[in-house]
């Protein structure tokens, strides 16, 4: 049993746990419960049936998954290139200070800035026109693949630095002796990349991808402020169902689906990071 000299720990922890229970655990449970209810009461699956028969919802679901896959692939590539470039320190640290700046720009501000770029009268269309690549301005933000691309670019701008920080932390843990040994054997940069860096970086990449994947599942401000109702993702769908159509039940069902996706990702993350700890 707990010795009395440890009792203080319970008093110290209780307020936080109580708060998280009341304001996180209970609301989540209530939402899940709501998703199986109807105005008339009683338990039902009809909210989910309605969602999957709804074209807009299926589109929101596909959009969420597509953004996640595309954004993660591009962010990983860019972040890894920058991390490889910066590692080793020296003068490059000044560059690092600059690269981290987007982390300090609030997401809604990023969205607002990206509108100046992607709007029909925006800077991107202007540059493309001046380079004679297009004749008529492109409507980037009216939905579809072009909007998906714009949202992905906006997300990349904001979070690539975070991904870079995680990968940099991993790169700096690779023992220098490995590179020295490889160089004595006359290896090229590409050989080092393939046989030393990539295998050792795999756990960091996996974890960065899962953590960032969870964030991207929840993406909200960027598509909302860039394209409004013409481009929906899951969390936006949940918001509009509640605010515009006054339907908390379908809003909760759409949120619950998101919750399940995130829960599965978190469980995978815990497994992966646990497995890594055992082998480390």
């Amino acid at each position: 049993m707990l010795k009395s000299k440890h009792y203080w720990k319970i008093f110290f922890l209780a307020p936080l746990l109580l708060y998280l229970t009341i304001f996180t655990l209970i609301p989540i449970s209530r939402s899940i419960f709501l998703s199986f209810q109807q105005k008339s009461g009683g338990l039902t699956f009809s909210n989910y049936a309605w969602l999957f028969s709804n074209f807009q919802f299926r589109e929101a679901f596909v959009n969420t998954i597509s953004i996640t896959i595309l954004a993660l692939a591009l962010e990983l590539l860019l972040a890894f290139s920058i991390a490889l470039f910066i590692t080793g320190g020296g003068k490059k640290r000044i560059l690092q200070a600059l690269i981290l700046i987007p982390l300090g720009i609030p997401t809604i501000v990023v969205a607002s800035n990206m509108r100046y770029i992607f709007d029909t009268d925006g800077f991107l269309n202007q540059i493309l026109t001046r380079l004679h690549l297009i004749e008529i301005p492109i409507n980037w933000l009216s939905g579809g693949a072009l909007t998906l691309f714009s949202v992905v670019i906006a997300d990349m701008w904001k979070v690539t630095p975070l991904m870079m920080l995680i990968l940099l932390a991993g790169l700096e843990r690779i023992p220098k002796e490995l590179f020295e040994a490889a160089r004595i054997d006359g290896s090229s940069f590409w050989q080092e990349l393939r046989f030393i860096i990539l295998p050792l970086m795999k756990p960091f990449m996996t974890m960065a991808l899962i953590i960032r994947g969870i964030d991207t599942f929840r993406i909200f401000e960027l598509p909302l402020a860039l394209a409004g109702e013409s481009f929906k993702v899951l969390s936006e769908f949940a918001f509009f169902e509640y605010r515009n159509y006054n339907n908390p039940y379908t809003a909760a069902a759409s949120g619950t689906l998101l919750f399940v996706m995130i829960l599965v990702s978190v469980l995978i993350y815990i497994r992966v990071s646990g497995a890594q700890k055992e082998t480390a």
Binding site: P15, I82, A225, S235, I270
Partner: protein
Amino acid sequence: MKKFWRYFFIALIIIWTALPIYIMFKVSFSPASELMSQDPPIIMRNITFKHWIEVFRSGNLWQPLSKSLTVALFTTILSLALAVPAAYALSRIQYKYAISIILFVFLARMLPEVQIALPISISFIKAGLLDTNLGLILAHMIRVLPIVTWILLSVFRTVPLELEEAAEVDGAGRANIVKNVALPLAAPGIIVSAIFAFLFSWDEFIYALYLAIATKTLPLMVYYYINRSGWFEAATFSTIIAIPVLIVTIILQRRLKAEYLAGAIKG
């Protein structure tokens, strides 16, 4: 040739990072004729303070600004009041017992906000907390608490147990150990986490969207103007929100550890 590609890469990264921020500043200082045209110039040709003066005079700034400041301030104080003792206790519990609570905090940080905001918004309407500062503070704590607890946990882990054990042998009670050993050593970390708490409330958007309908916060004002095509006002409000966050991010560079932001579980 290799050198050329290096500088090319650096230039590309600098342009990629700086351009959107530059455009925000530019728009907030540009005359309307430069943006509403078919071909908006990228270089700043004319500078006008018109939008800034209008925003300051319009009466749409002070209420959201004071709401954002008040909510962020109280969110910071209350979050620290709950998170400092909890993180300290967690750092003094054996890992195999603490891990379930750590995972709970970790999970709380990953959950979809829309799923939490929905029932909270419904209950706050009934409780009369919608559109109140208190309601928004309680909601912002949902976002801020897990992050701050996380940062503080790694802060308290750096306070050596030996020092506390020595104080305990000398007969100091827990209250004295916390006051005289743990808190002074953790003070810089606590200040950093307070700054993070403030900023995570300052730029919060989703809970505010659900709960602040009559009086908006600053991030909601940006959204408000985006929806009304108020380009200049959106840029001006964006700049007002971004400046404090930007300054702090630059100053705290060295403290921006990947694990703070990404929430990696470490053993």
